[in-house]
């Protein structure tokens, strides 16, 4: 056995490897990304590992493994499940042979996501089991258990960690000598593997009956457990996910309250809960995102005529949105117990703190692309549709170049919608290379087919930057460790039938502005590929130099908002620890007072 101090996501990866997983697929997304990155880093002989182009694809690739009896793991963030929901809904009906665990990382807060959706509710919607770990240690155990339940009941199973489980660190002990679990291979049987209304009808009834059985089975599962149980206790707290860890810590001072963990929210372990709630008059449900367990307990009360007062989000004892914490749980418990206690405030009159919104890095080529479009379209009515990735940060002042951001790939198609409702304006879409492959392609086909007049700017920095530089089809490297042919974005567009395709280095300011102006004067679908690598994947150039000619007019600061240009004792200066010598500021300086960095 080996003991390692690892991140929750790594614990999930090691758990899946220990369970003999054969196929691992996913798409990067905070807070789930490090699961696949861990598997890539540690020995994983005979495992097929891939960054799929999106979550739907990942789910489908893994499905074939599951049909063949092999164990598979699919990873994504919560919004990724929306993309993958089409195959998953059907797969829930068809079922699996080999264990299939779908890790969907939820993000209460949200800390780096578009939504605060609750994957437990999604699992209920799909009628499949879901495990909800409270810590990296539990996540390691649960992912292995999830494979067993998946095979026992022939169903895909979701493991739903939240950010604080994914990104927490703990010591994990595991057997280093893991290997792929042997599997039978695909056995053809069209009555089983081809979804038809008749099959869905039959399986739907089977699934509902089966879920009752799973609920009973879960009632003796080790992570559905009671602590602090006392015969005299009339009050209980039910907590799920990381809220259980917070409640456990909050209740260290109060051993009179029964604490109940529900580690498998769906199917609900009814018998376990009925027994745990015997003799209890009042129960407080502590959870993040939706009042999922709270509503389930209310359902249980109705079904079994329990005389139980249920408190939680529905009664304003727990916040409806955002994260929980030890102190928020303490507040909830105090309110539940009728204890009037205000929070201690240790520090008063705190001075105004500088705001630190996330910004594009110094030298980021996206800044140059946005600024070129801004200059080219000055005083012309334009719509700027953003997308999901680093370039969402183009919304920040002074660039202010993102008017909308909805979902992966949404900018490409939204720009078309704007064009159809306002023919006078020029509609732009900004999308990164990885996002283009994930879900931008079909939008371009739509634009060509439906005759949109749009300019699609592909910000090609040769990596998936926001989530930590994962390779994608355009990078020429995959997770099997192979160098492969790069999928050429320009050729793809040509094939679709885009007539105007311009590739330009965004750090060449004049050429970029000219390219935008040219495209704005042509009808049809135009694509500008702004191609320059992410600063994090190449060696930086020497910093630029501010010469004597600089009169600190601050134009560079006010136009670009580059974090490497700072004010020092009233003068504009360059932070040499941040500047990578992209030379954008030198090109826009009205007095030509910035000396360009020479390529080494």
């Amino acid at each position: 056995m080996k003991k390692d101090y690892v991140m929750g996501n790594s614990a999930i990866a090691l758990g899946a490897l220990s369970a003999g997983v054969k196929v691992v697929c996913g798409y990067p997304g905070t807070p789930s990304t490090e699961i696949i990155e861990t598997i890539f880093r540690v020995p994983h002989d005979n495992v097929h590992l891939e960054w799929s182009v999106n979550e739907k694809v990942a789910m489908e690739v893994a499905t074939s493994a599951a049909y063949s009896g092999a164990r598979s793991l699919v990873t994504m963030k919560q919004v990724g499940l929306n993309v993958a929901s089409d195959p998953l809904m059907s797969l829930a009906y068809v079922g699996v042979k080999g264990g299939m665990v779908i890790v969907v990382a939820d993000d209460p807060g949200p800390i780096s996501s578009q939504t605060e959706q609750d994957t437990r509710a999604f699992a209920n919607f799909c009628r499949i089991p879901v495990f909800d770990p409270a810590s990296p240690e539990q996540a390691f155990q649960m992912v292995q258990d999830a494979f067993l339940y998946s095979e026992k009941y022939h169903t895909p199973v979701i493991l739903r960690p939240t950010t604080r489980v994914c990104h927490a660190y703990a010591s994990i002990e595991f057997n280093e000598n893991y290997c792929v679990k042997p599997y039978e291979g695909f056995v053809k049987d069209s009555s089983k593997w081809v979804i038809f209304p008749k099959l869905s009808f039959a399986n739907h009834a089977m699934i509902e009956k089966r879920n009752v059985t799973i609920g009973n089975d879960f009632s003796s599962y080790k992570f559905n457990c009671v602590t602090n149980a006392k015969a005299s206790s009339k009050k209980a707290v039910i907590a799920t996910g990381d809220s259980y860890a917070y409640a456990k810590e909050a209740l260290l001072e109060n051993q009179e309250i029964t604490l109940i963990q529900v580690g498998t929210p769906h199917p609900l372990p009814e018998n376990f809960l009925l027994k745990a709630l015997e003799g209890i008059d009042d129960v407080l449900c502590i959870e993040e995102l939706s009042p999922y367990i709270e509503n389930e307990v209310l359902r249980l009360c109705g079904k079994h005529h329990l005389k139980l007062n249920v408190y939680g989000k529905n009664t304003s004892h727990v916040a409806l949105s955002g994260e929980n914490s030890v102190q928020s749980v303490k507040r909830s418990i105090n309110k539940f117990l009728g204890i009037d206690k205000t929070d201690d405030i240790a520090f008063e009159n705190i001075p105004n703190l500088p705001i630190r919104p996330p910004v594009l890095c110094a030298g980021c080529p996206h800044r140059a692309a946005f600024y070129a479009v801004k200059v080219a379209m000055k005083n012309k009515k334009s719509y700027f549709c953003g997308d999901i990735g680093c370039y969402t940060l183009g919304n920040a002042k002074p660039l202010d170049m993102v008017d909308t951001c909805l979902c992966m790939g949404g900018g490409v198609t939204m720009s078309q919608g704007f064009n159809f409702v306002d023919k006078e304006a020029t509609s732009f879409a900004f999308i990164g290379d990885s996002t283009f492959f994930a879900s931008g392609l079909t939008g371009v086909v739509n634009a060509v087919y439906n005759e949109a007049n749009v300019i699609i700017c592909i910000l090609d920095n040769s990596t998936t930057a926001m989530t930590g530089h994962q390779p994608h089809p355009g990078t020429g490297f995959n997770l099997m460790g192979n160098f492969v042919d790069k999928v050429d974005i320009s050729k793809v567009l040509e094939g679709i039938g885009v007539n105007t395709i311009v590739t330009v280095n965004p750090l060449d300011f004049k050429a970029s502005v000219d390219a935008v102006k040219d495209c704005a004067s042509i009808k049809g679908v135009k694509v500008i590929i702004f191609k320059a690598p992410c600063i994090s994947i190449v060696k930086p150039h020497k910093p630029v130099k501010f010469t004597q000619k600089c009169n600190s007019c601050r134009v560079c600061i006010k136009k670009l908002g580059c974090p490497a240009i700072i004010m020092n004792e009233g003068k504009v200066a360059i932070d040499t620890s941040l500047c990578v010598g992209c030379n954008l500021c030198a090109q826009i300086c009205p007095r030509k007072s910035i000396e360009e960095s020479k390529c080494e």
Partner: protein, 198 residues
Amino acid sequence: MNKDILICGVGGQGTVLASKLIASAAMSENNIVHSAETIGMAQRGGSVTSHVRIGQNAFSPLIPDHCADLILSFEPAEAVRNLKFLKKDGAVIVNSQPIKPITETLDNTGYDGSNMIEYLKQNCKTCIVVDGKYFSDNLGSSKFFNIAILGVACGANKLGLDKDSLIKQIETKVKEKFVEVNKKAFELGIKIGEQNAA
């Protein structure tokens, strides 16, 4: 041992390595350790924190309010931002060198961290102010401040960890070609810490 240590700064300052070294040194001394990091959007020039929790009663990966024994701050305002985590009699070790966010540069408010340092000195029972410039002048780069501040904490007896167990972790966890300069940073920090030990 029970100890909660919060490490804070701005994305890119190397707070994660500092927290990893503390965690692994604490484990090498047979403690149970949990920790958590900010990862994601906040990394890009935003405020970042690492929470290191040593002891068997730490179930939450994040330090609850008013529980941190020590705040190691790589930037003046970030120390103030995270004061709600500090125990009444907890200690703060803070870099006096500010990192100016672009929002400040745009509005030209003149933020230089000095009012933050003043506030910390007046309101914290123990506040050790470290000049990051001293280390970058001596070590040739500001990149080694993360290890230097560990040295300061160690020298001032605020970590509760043995100096040698930290050095051992530097030797094993840091990239080989940077081990020597990081050890030097650590030793420089220890000297500063010893001068400030209560």
